[in-house]
């Protein structure tokens, strides 16, 4: 009876060690079924997104420069007008 209890006890103590073992390593490759989708993440949207971002960023920057330049030119003209009036 004592032996049986010792055996059960040692098995219970060893259980965590067995539970922590990594899964068995893959011993061979299995071919995908014909027609099955193997590509999980398509590359084209990522490529297009990267290219589009480069274009949008460059064009956006050109647009901001144009806007700022227009504002500076307007300010320069209005200040020159004010300075001209003040000197008269």
């Amino acid at each position: 009876m004592t032996r049986i209890l010792l055996l059960i006890g040692s098995l219970l103590l060893a259980a965590p060690a067995f539970a922590l073992q990594p899964p068995a390593a893959q011993s061979e490759f299995v071919p995908a079924a014909p027609g099955a989708s193997t590509e999980q993440l398509p590359a084209a949207p990522l490529l297009i997104a990267a290219y589009a971002f480069v274009w949008v960023a460059a064009m956006g920057y050109v647009w901001t420069i144009g806007r700022r330049l227009t504002k500076v030119e307007d300010d320069l003209r209005s200040l020159e007008r004010k300075a001209g009036k003040a000197s008269r």
Binding site: L41, A43, A44, L46, L47, A49, A50, Y51, F53, V54, A57, A58, Y61, V62, I65, R68, L69, V72, E73, D75, L76, L79, E80, K82, A83, A86, S87
Partner: protein, 223 residues
């Protein structure tokens, strides 16, 4: 400089129209496939950024020590272009990494230092815009720190173990490691560097006009 402007615009336009066709014709890389083609504008965007960093660092040093206003115009223009092309690299990189590494981002030494360098140049622009009187000098000093980090960012992949490819990829490609991909890459790189030059020229013009406006305001206030 003004005489160079129109030919530069035409050259950049031709290169940017031709680049997608040439990139599409380039061979596929064996393990990454289609997504590797992001390389043809990811690496050139960093090359354009390093060009802008060189201009920004030299101009900032000249402005800081010689108080040259033209150098200040070049420094602010180059800092903005640095941030723009850095952003292109920081966005196109994760899009490539998502497919190649399975993750958008890794706190790897190259990626982290590149992000920090971008943040230093953003800080430089923020200091300049919101720092109040005298902030131009502070921004120039910040840009010098940004410029000092650039060589470390570039060599990080050779010094430390990282998931990012090493710097030898580009020279090997140009030597012919992947036949048919050297020319599209070279043309794309030239296109990006010329685009950065063009944007800096336009931005310098804006900075000079802003300086003229500030001087006119001061004259008007005094009179």
């Amino acid at each position: 400089m003004k005489r160079l402007f129109a030919p530069l615009v035409v050259t950049v336009a031709v290169l940017f129209v031709a680049a997608p066709y040439l990139i599409a014709q380039a061979p596929y890389e064996s393990t990454m496939g289609l997504v590797q083609k992001i390389f043809y504008f990811h690496v050139p965007s960093w090359m354009a950024m390093y060009t802008a960093i060189a201009v920004c660092t030299i101009s900032s040093a000249v402005f800081l020590f010689k108080n040259n206003k033209t150098a200040d115009a070049y420094a602010v223009a180059a800092a903005e272009v640095t941030v723009l092309f850095g952003l292109m690299g920081l966005v196109s990189g994760p899009l490539w990494g998502r497919k190649a590494w399975g993750v958008w981002w890794q706190w790897d030494v190259r990626l982290t230092t590149a992000l920090l360098m971008e943040l230093i140049f953003i800080a430089c622009l923020l200091v300049r815009k919101y720092g109040g009187p005298g902030s131009e000098k502070l921004a120039a000093a910040t840009a010098l720190f940004g410029g000092a980090t650039a060589p470390f960012v570039y060599k990080s992949v050779d010094i430390w173990r990282t998931v990012h490819p090493k710097t030898s990829v580009v020279p090997e490609l140009l030597k012919g490691s992947m036949p048919g991909s050297g020319l599209p890459f070279a043309l794309s790189a030239i296109g990006f560097v010329l685009l950065a030059t063009l944007l800096m020229m336009v931005r310098v013009n804006l900075a000079k006009r802003q300086m003229a406006l500030d001087e006119l305001y001061l004259d008007y206030e005094e009179s």
